[in-house]
């Protein structure tokens, strides 16, 4: 009953003309961003955050706009995967495996519609899951003290490093880089300046938005200039789009299974959508009778990763909203948005600002239907976006990033920092050092240190306090397993691959 009352509150917020319009705009913008080759949800949302902030929207409105962009970009990502064989970002990669071959067979329309429907099923079920699971998790989170929060942050960093990267050392390095950057500035509890090199600009610390836009958007420009001419895949032309009812009906169980797998992968802190689409695809492949068909344009091979990654995108919102720990790169960016809007995610958000949480959930439900309309009957319009030449797109992205950051502070120093992060992002990405942990480190570093110091104040400097409660022990164990497990998992995957 409580759920229904909350939902009613949510819809009363979401159905106001203003919010509804923002959701639709967000969906359209998101689909376009997702469809643009090379731009995915995380860098798309990243370049738009500073702008949405300077629009002076209130918290709910800004959140609705940006999460609609997020969901939209998850939908749109499949368009360039299927038609160009270029994934917009990592989670969309699995869709290229069967999507592009199917398009080459002259079934591009079918592939787009099927993946659109699968995206809808995944995202819709995940939003329901978010609705059911988030309040429960929020209740559990009330039991968290500083020691538990410290262990939770550690868990996020360990799983992110373990599951999200090929090399744990590099992920750990990347986390340290982020945490180190977070320490720059005035220490809030003592008023001391740390690591500023007496540069006045650094006293306030480094704004995480500057780091995010630099690492995600500006580095993308460098990567593109470097790789230009290498990805010369031939685009597939989109003919008439019809709805392949039979194909959709035949993959219904695939969509359902993949949505569940994706949701679970999304909820795990630090794992995110890439893991969701990967696991969904792999499990469908192992269940299938004719395994050889996968990779040649098998409908199940399209439905599974799309349902999986869109469901994971919804699942990733659960830990982000209830615990303040993001499950993916894009939710890390959304967390940055919340923090800029002065909203602290966590259990209190559900009791103190129910209109924000439930308004968001209701908007996501509405956004899903809007996206289904945009991405099935109107997919042909969005596929035109692919024809935007890079020579226009990239300068545009750069300028939007600059104006966004400039509008936040009006200081050239932040712009220089952003360029520095862009250059650093280029080298990190070339060396296979993941950039998402850097962002997460910058975002959570301050909170992590505060939790640790509070825990020490409470226990009068007794370190065993960190392992005193069953919850914190559980989190420490999970963190350890999250860091260790991928080593075995990778061995298992390399054994099973040659077959």
């Amino acid at each position: 009953m409580e759920l229904l009352a909350n939902l009613a509150l949510g819809f009363s917020v979401a159905l106001s003309p203003n919010t509804l319009m923002l959701a639709v705009i967000g969906c359209i913008l998101g689909t376009v961003i997702g469809a643009l080759p090379g731009l995915g949800p995380s860098n798309g949302v990243a370049i738009l955050i500073p702008l949405s902030f300077s629009l002076g929207l209130d918290a709910t409105a800004a959140l609705v706009l940006m999460t609609s962009v997020y969901y939209g970009a998850m939908y749109g990502g499949r368009i360039s995967s299927i038609l160009l064989n270029i994934p917009g970002d990592e989670p969309a990669m699995m869709t290229t495996l069967d999507g592009y071959p199917m398009a080459k067979k002259g079934q591009a329309g079918n592939a787009l519609v099927l993946s659109g429907v699968a995206s809808f099923v995944g995202a819709f079920l995940a939003t329901i899951g978010l609705m059911l699971l988030a309040p429960i998790l929020a209740r559990v989170a009330f039991l968290f003290g500083p020691a538990e929060y410290f262990a939770l942050y550690l868990l996020a960093f360990c799983t992110l490093g373990g599951l999200g990267s090929k090399n744990q050392t590099k992920a750990a390095l990347s986390v340290c880089l982020g945490l180190g950057i977070a320490m720059i500035g005035v220490d809030k509890s003592t008023g001391m300046t740390r690591f500023t090199g007496d540069n006045l600009h650094l006293y306030d610390g480094i704004d995480f938005l500057v780091a995010i836009v630099g690492l995600f958007a500006v580095s993308e420009v460098f990567i593109f200039i470097e790789s230009h001419g290498k990805n010369s895949s031939i685009g597939v032309k989109l003919e008439k789009v019809t709805i392949p009812f039979r194909m959709i009906f035949e993959t219904r169980w695939t969509m359902l299974r993949s949505s569940i797998i994706g949701f679970v992968a999304g909820v795990l802190p630090g794992a995110g959508a890439s893991l969701g689409s990967f696991l969904a695809y792999m499990s469908e492949k192992s269940l299938a009778k004719e395994k050889d068909k996968f990779g040649t344009g098998e409908p199940k091979g399209i439905a599974a990763p799309e349902a999986g990654n869109n469901s994971a995108a919804g699942g990733a919102l659960v830990p982000m909203l209830t615990l303040g720990v993001p499950g993916s790169g894009t939710t890390a960016v959304l967390l940055a948005l919340l923090m800029t809007l002065n909203i602290t995610p966590g259990p209190l958000l559900f009791t103190e600002r129910p209109e924000v949480v439930w308004g968001l959930i209701a908007s996501l439900l509405i956004a899903n239907f809007v996206l289904l309309v945009l991405n099935v009957p109107m997919v042909k319009i969005f596929s035109r976006v692919l024809q935007v030449p890079a020579a226009i797109l990239l300068p545009g992205v750069t300028m939007i990033s600059f104006v966004g950051i400039y509008s936040l502070s009006g200081s050239y120093f932040d712009l220089l920092l952003m360029i520095l992060f862009g250059v650093a992002g280029f080298f990190l990405r070339k060396m296979d050092i993941p950039t998402v942990p850097v962002i997460l480190g910058i975002l959570l570093g301050g909170h992590m240190e505060v939790s640790l110091r509070r825990a020490m104040v409470l226990s009068d400097g007794d370190w065993t306090y960190l392992f005193a409660s069953p919850i914190s022990i559980g989190l420490w164990v999970a963190a350890f397993l999250g860091f260790i497990a991928p080593i075995f998992l990778r061995r298992f995957l390399t054994i099973s691959k040659p077959q």
């Binding site: 702008l51 300077s54 629009l55 090399n167 050392t169 590099k170 750990a172 390095l173 986390v175 340290c176 880089l177 945490l179 180190g180 320490m183 220490d187 509890s189 003592t190 001391m192 740390r194 690591f195 500006v218 420009v221 460098f222 593109f224 200039i225 470097e226 230009h228 030449p389 890079a390 020579a391 226009i392 990239l394 300068p395 545009g396 750069t398 300028m399 939007i400 600059f402 104006v403 400039y406 509008s407 050239y412 712009l415 220089l416 360029i419 862009g422 250059v423 280029f426 070339k430 060396m431 296979d432 050092i433 992590m448 240190e449 640790l452 110091r453 020490m456 104040v457 009068d460 400097g461």
Partner: protein
């Protein structure tokens, strides 16, 4: 090799970070940990990661050729100049020049990139100024 250099660099930076953290004075009031413990722990982990990279480097990444590096350097330079000129010169002129230059880096066609730069600059200015209501100046204030 790249991994080894990065590892070594990490160790140096982390040591400097560590040294800088030890200089922080402990406060008098009841904060048993103070502002130095956490940064010291972070630099400790970073040093271990640096050593690991030094000892067990990955395969060498595919670095771009020199001409591409020069291209990237020029792009960075353009962006830096752009960052400095945005305030004194207003939005339109620097944006047009910078986007034309970036566009030229991607597709070396002088006329096309100039047209792209000019039109991007004007269109973005109109969107930012009148669509989003940002306080941008089109031209230098003294005009």
């Amino acid at each position: 090799m790249s991994d080894r250099i990065t590892g070594l660099l990490t160790i140096c930076v982390a040591l400097a970070f560590f040294a800088s953290a030890t200089q922080l004075e402990l406060p008098f009031f009841s904060d048993p940990l103070g502002p130095k413990a956490f940064p010291m722990a972070v630099s400790g982990v970073a040093i271990i990661a640096g050593i690991m990279m030094l000892v067990r480097p990955d395969q060498e990444p595919e670095w771009p050729v020199l001409s591409t590096f020069i291209k990237l350097f020029i792009t960075t330079l353009i962006l830096v100049i752009y960052a400095y000129s945005l305030k004194p010169l207003g939005f339109i002129i620097p944006t047009a020049l910078a986007s034309a230059a970036i566009s030229y880096q991607i597709k070396p066609d002088l006329w096309k990139s100039m047209i792209i730069g000019g039109s991007l600059s004007v269109v973005l200015f109109l969107i930012f100024k009148f669509g989003l209501g940002l306080g941008l100046y089109a031209f230098p204030k003294s005009f």
